[in-house]
């Protein structure tokens, strides 16, 4: 079976005659002179979007210098943090599961840039960036991975159980978060809020049955739910062509319109997220958004990532389509900041992550008594609770 995988990668990916989406990170053109204080317009590459049952978002995007630099800082911090998690895992300080989002930073930063903390975002388990962007901080995320008390879930949840007030998790079962996301959208509609829900899943989870059930209910009841498919072309070790009969994930919604977006260009992601939020909050019903992206690391820390794809492919993606590198190019070419400024941002990001990691390491492990808390709401516990074996009984 592994040999089949290698044969497949030799076959060119998109063989249809229709125009394919392009996934380079640095093809946006400057429309007018980049102003340092006012918003300026840039034009996305014409192949940044593809639409299904809808027009694609406009290619002209208004951006500001602060936003671009903010996104650059955020993406760099996220990349550093994921690399720090990788190193900590290899030192066996982080155990268990650890799914890194190296290469997919543009998606989390882009979606966050187009939403407020009132909007709901629910995702699977490649969600470390969201914790930091949506109200958490690096120390609490790394602390959670290390299993310390300072973590977002008090060290008891781990990598696949992270939540903040503005981020609804962090879920371990593949595809289980999609019906939850549809439910969140239902609640928003019920309460009359003009906010959106981003229910995110990967290309591997896109074939789960409950995803289609959610599509049906969202379309039937016109819910403000944006179904986001992060297509990084591999579901664990299975490439999308080997897992899905229809790899155009944005068309899977049947009656639900969809758009396919270049997930490596931060400006395209920002524009698509803005478009999606406007769509669902103006009562047009649900929308499907597929971000075409790539992960450099393996599926998780126990996967080297090279048994089902070639190293050349990974290196090619890294050198030509890296989102941070693309944004760096924009910032430099449009004269928004010098190379030294960007290097300073890099340095600051690295220092920030290093200090946070050190602080997190100093935090203690949860006390034994924490085994019995957070199972029931405090004050509503049953008289006793059984522990890990028959003799271990805790009386509340």
């Amino acid at each position: 079976m592994a040999s089949l995988a290698r044969i497949r990668t030799a076959v060119p990916r998109r063989m249809h005659l229709a125009r394919a989406i392009q996934t380079a990170a640095d093809t946006t053109q400057l429309h007018q002179d980049a102003s340092h204080s006012e918003p300026f317009t840039v034009k996305l590459h014409e192949d940044s979007f593809r639409g299904y049952r809808t027009d694609t978002p406009s290619l002209d995007v208004e951006v500001t210098k602060e936003n671009l630099l903010k996104w650059y800082k955020e993406m760099t911090v996220i990349r550093r943090m994921e690399q720090a998690a990788d190193a900590l895992y290899k030192q066996k300080l982080i155990r268990g599961f650890c799914h890194l989002a190296i290469g997919q930073e543009a998606i989390s930063v882009g979606i966050n840039s187009a939403t407020t903390f009132e909007d709901k975002i629910i995702s699977s388990y490649r969600t470390h960036p969201f914790v930091v962007l949506r109200g958490g901080n690096i120390k609490s995320l790394i602390g959670e991975l290390l299993g310390r008390v300072c973590g977002v879930s008090k060290g008891k949840g781990g990598s696949m159980h992270v939540f903040t007030e503005a981020f609804q998790g962090g879920h371990g079962i593949v595809g289980a978060q999609v019906p939850l996301g549809a439910g969140l959208a239902f609640a928003q509609k019920y309460l009359g809020k003009k906010t959106a829900t981003f229910a995110m899943y990967g290309d591997g989870a896109s074939n789960q049955g409950q995803v289609f059930e959610s599509y049906n209910m969202a379309k039937l009841w016109n819910l403000p739910c944006i179904f986001v498919c992060e297509n990084n072309k591999y579901g664990m070790g299975t490439s999308a062509e080997r897992s899905s009969a229809n790899t155009e994930y944005y068309t899977r919604g049947d009656k639900i319109p969809g758009i396919q977006v270049n997930g490596m260009d931060i400006i395209a992601v920002h524009q698509a997220s803005k478009f999606a939020k406007e769509w669902v909050t103006s009562d047009k019903g649900p929308l499907l958004v597929e971000f075409v992206t790539y992960r450099y690391a393996g599926h998780s820390m126990s996967d080297p990532g090279t048994t089902y794809r070639t190293r050349e492919e990974i290196q090619r993606m890294r050198s030509t389509q890296d989102p941070i590198r693309g944004l760096q190019r924009y910032i430099s070419e449009w004269g928004l900041a010098s190379e030294e400024d960007l290097k300073t941002i890099d340095k600051e990001a690295k220092a920030e992550v290093d200090t946070a990691v050190e602080e997190a390491k100093q935090s203690p492990f949860p006390d034994e008594s924490e085994l019995w808390t957070d199972i029931y709401k405090a004050g509503y516990e049953p008289p006793f609770m059984r522990g890990r074996d028959r003799e271990e009984v805790h009386y509340y």
């Binding site: 760099t76 990349r79 690399q83 990788d86 190193a87 895992y89 290899k90 030192q91 066996k92 300080l93 155990r95 268990g96 450099y296 126990s302 080297p304 090279t306 190293r311 990974i314 290196q315 890294r318 050198s319 890296d322 941070i324 590198r325 760096q328 190019r329 430099s332 070419e333 004269g335 010098s338 190379e339 290097k343 890099d346 340095k347 990001a349 690295k350 492990f365 034994e368 522990g387 890990r388 074996d389 003799e391 271990e392 009984v393 805790h394 009386y395």
Partner: protein, 317 residues
């Protein structure tokens, strides 16, 4: 300002051929490259080969070296761009514990001419100590839980008796009653050695301590082993094996293979058929059949061995 802008742009364009777009920060610190654990169960590994030489630069994602674990040889990729400053553990080094520094990495443009090997850090043993202390604390606390539960569930002591003995092991009700009837103080209870399951106090232990019984098991004697000699031998071997260090993956496999070898020795020997054959009986298969030979020719042939021995030569000479 405008001209500067242009100049910088030109400089950027000129330098675009060089790999200036880095996602890493320029810093002068040398970073230590520790032995990574390629799987959660890996404790040590060996270096198969370094793919980069000292002073060679690499990009994020390039393979730096190959690490040999007990399971496989795995490539280790670099996380960042950089330059390999100094290799501390060369090719072929074995049994490097996870976390030990095996190389020093530097940034592009850093001075790597005089890198010194840093003093050995005590990080790996520290982490092991903390993990062992953690495991020790977790094992003692569950054991303190059950006696608390049992103490609550055990029948209430007689109203006259206010003394509830504290033991680290659960107490049988019969033992509790005996202790209370004979008013054994805490100090004496701690001195009694438990012969029950997991060191629990049994009724016999308490009775023996009080002198009311001759031994914890009374007059019961275990039947002696059939062969006292072999028992002693296996007993000694068993103790030796327990005294040896806990086996790791490779040693377990060696043990399994050697055991299989021993166990299968008999079968392998049996597979080779032992044919009681001498020269004449083998030759008889190839010699032309004698006309007068009856159906049971084999025993007849073997009985007439000396004759057939010289017969076959007759035709030849």
């Amino acid at each position: 300002m405008y001209s500067l802008h242009h100049v910088s742009k030109a400089a950027l364009r000129a330098s675009s051929s060089r790999r200036w777009m880095q996602t890493t920060a320029a810093r002068n610190a040398i970073s230590k490259f520790a032995m990574p654990a390629m799987s959660p169960t890996m404790t040590e590994g060996g270096i198969a080969s370094w793919k980069k030489k000292e002073g060679e630069s690499f990009m994020a994602g390039d393979v730096l070296l190959e690490i040999e674990t007990d399971k496989a040889t795995i490539d280790v990729e670099a996380q960042d761009d950089g330059v390999l400053g100094k290799i501390i553990a060369p090719d072929g080094t074995k049994n490097i514990p996870v976390g030990k520094t095996i190389a020093l990495l530097a940034e592009e443009g850093d001075d790597i001419s005089n890198l010194e090997i840093p003093a050995e850090e005590s990080a790996p043993p520290k982490s092991q100590e903390t993990s062992s202390s953690r495991s020790a604390s977790t094992t003692t606390s569950p054991s303190s839980q059950p006696p608390a539960a049992v103490a609550k569930q055990s029948p209430p002591s007689p109203p006259t008796e206010s003394h509830v003995p504290q033991t680290s092991r659960p107490l049988f009700p019969s033992v509790l009653r005996l202790i209370q009837e004979h008013h054994l103080p805490q100090g004496e209870i701690d001195k009694i050695r438990g012969t029950g399951v997991r060191g629990m106090l049994t009724k016999g232990d308490v009775l023996a301590h009080l002198g009311l019984a001759s031994a914890p098991t009374g007059t019961y004697r275990e039947t002696p082993a059939q062969d006292a000699k072999t028992d002693k031998k296996t007993g000694a071997q068993g103790e030796k094996k327990e005294a040896a260090a806990p086996l790791d993956g490779a040693a377990i496999r060696r043990l399994i293979v050697s055991n299989m070898l021993e166990a299968s020795a008999k079968e392998r020997a049996a597979a080779i058929p032992k044919v009681e054959a001498d020269f004449d009986s083998i030759i008889a298969d190839y010699l032309p059949r004698k006309k007068s030979v009856p159906a049971a020719s084999a025993p007849a042939a073997s009985s007439s061995k000396p004759h057939s021995g010289s017969d076959f030569i007759d035709g030849l000479i």
